[in-house]
Amino acid sequence: MKRFTSLFLALVMAVSMLAGCGGSDKKKETEAPKETAEAEKKEEQQDTKAETEAQKESESAAAADDGDTITFGLSCAITGNFPLAGERTLQGVQMAVDEINAAGGVLGKKLAFIYEDDGNDPTQAVTVVTKLLNEDICGLIGPHTTTNYLAVQELAGQAEIPYITGGSGTKIAAAGNKYGFQCRPSDGMNGIVAADFAVKELGAKKVGVFFNNNDFGVGGRDAVTAELDKLQVEYVTLGHNSGDTDMTSQLMQFISEGIDTMILWTDDAEDVVVARQAYELGLEADVITSAGVVMEQVLSQMEPEYVEGWYSVTDFVPANDDPVVAKFVEDFKALYDIEPELYASAYYGAVKFLAAAIEKAGSDDPKAIRDAMAELKDVEGPTGTLSCASDNTLIHSCVVTQITDLKPAVVNTVTADFE
């Protein structure tokens, strides 16, 4: 019979634990009424409905009284296998919020944000975003990477809260979620720009497309190959898995195919491995890569000669004489004494865009903000002017850069036309 008591205890613990985890700041209110509701259940009285009803009011009351701030949610990866993105995102968002509040906040109210760690894992992203959607937030700066965006997009869509993600996969726009916005150029555009640059500027005859087999890499590959088909240029595609540490076989196949240009579409860690092994195996080819390579924390892992002369289609480079970008770089360095990079600048721009949308909508009602965002144009941001196109992408320009002695310099800026 002892087992029965322990089974009973297990389920009681489940319910009381659930009651307890209604968010730290609301711990006190939910704790007390929940326990009494629990006690009543034991004596089989049926007024549990009334008890938990009471607890409901106290929870929404707590949110209303701090009326003088508008809060938005932020889900980024602090732990897990991509912790760097989370850290920089947090710094970028914090800086943007402080700047906005210094300049008088939004609609006369202070802007604030609650952030949760999604560990760059789709399951945690869903849990964390659900938690944020239950707080009283007017918008959400979404989980990074395309995978997490797709995991969460139905959730946010149902909650009808606008959310902005820094993922750049083509699948985001394709998902066509009214409430989802993309604050970085989608790979569709980057891929086309990379392919055009390879063929038109570098006169590529045979292109090797080396892609990471995750949704980011596959999206990039499809865009590049589609453009190369249009330009009738011969190409070879080879893939690798994310987390791969040895690309010899793929690079050897590229060398034996005799490619003169390689378009590399992968994440930071794999960029480093490919750069080292391409140099060691003596791959003579111009290389154009996806956005990640120009970031300071990636370049610092490489020897200068590995990436000498590499091109990269990216949306943000600190060494950019554009006044807005230069000012942002200075402020960021002053605050965190490290150079800002892709994630910090993208999410800084996203916060500015969200603030502008709230101003335009004139209220903190999520639906109004979403509609405002859909028409919002020309918001200045370090990664270019953010204006919303029909497919909810905000950034339509990207920068082609070349790396000389580990320093990325802007070669030219391409602004795609958008409707």
């Binding site: 019979m1 008591t5 009973f8 205890l9 297990a10 629990e38 938990t52 952030y115 789709p122 699948k171």
Partner: protein, 339 residues
Amino acid sequence: MKEKKNVKIALLAALFVGLIVFPIVDKNTYHQLALAQTLVNVIIVLGLNFITGLTGQMNLGTAGIMALGAYSGQLMVQKLGMATILTIPVAILMGVIIGYALGYPSLRLKGVYLSLTTIGFSEIVRLVITNWADFTGGTTGVQNIPALNLFGLKLDATWKLTVFLVIICAVLVFTAYRIVNSKYGRVFKAIRDNIEAVEACGIDVAGLKIKAFTLAAIFGCIGGCFYGFLMTYLNPTQFTQDLSANYLLMMMFGGIGSVPGSVIGATAVTLLPEFLRFTKEYYWLIFGIITLLFAIFLPYGFISLFQKEKREEAGIFKILNDRKGKRKNAGVPKSGGMR
């Protein structure tokens, strides 16, 4: 004795009602999602309990089982337009297939070798799903999974799915409890203790090992299937080695080999990180440390607090006893842990 049993039944019934009422009343979808995730984990840990808890065979491939359970149903729905309710029988069928696929090696291999086979199985499943992009959707995963509709009743809101899950979980907990305390539970434990003796009693050990793996795989696949409906999105990156280890951790945390233990373990380990989220930066580290302390000082899990002789076998209570120098029940041989 009789009335003590009735009180327990009443309390369990009250708790069941409480769990049903809770998602309906409490509008907070986060709480509903947390409860639903706990219930999915309880189902999977119950399954794992049959092989690793009872027959003592190490299974580190739970993630692979879950992935197949989730993907098989959802791909059928998306590619063949199958009704969503049929994903449950498909998951059970997939469970039987995995039961034999993983059961067979368990006949020839023991302990560490078997756990490596299960790791290999889980990694291959994940890699095939990732790379066979045109059928499984590869790394973009299976998107916008339709709501489970039970003969017309569409479970589109989280709380509806949670209520249905509470019922399913209650049924499975009851069945698991019955199996564990029946002749099957007993014979699974006998296989763990001494295989030759079981064979000498004329029992087909091979058949039973496969039964244990099939039971575990069926529970695992049903859990995976509901995980798909809950998350509305499936991606191979979710089914990592870490996930398999997490389920073992849940079973051990609660108490190896016991159904209430599995329920407590699954609840605690699923909700503990949510609980610790307020520590923002360090919550994963604190969670790790708490589970490590549990693993070392209470290896037989939370449940062993209620079973006296189990408690004294290892962990903090054994240390306390040795230090106190008195052996409470004289029957326990002086050599203590050396078995």
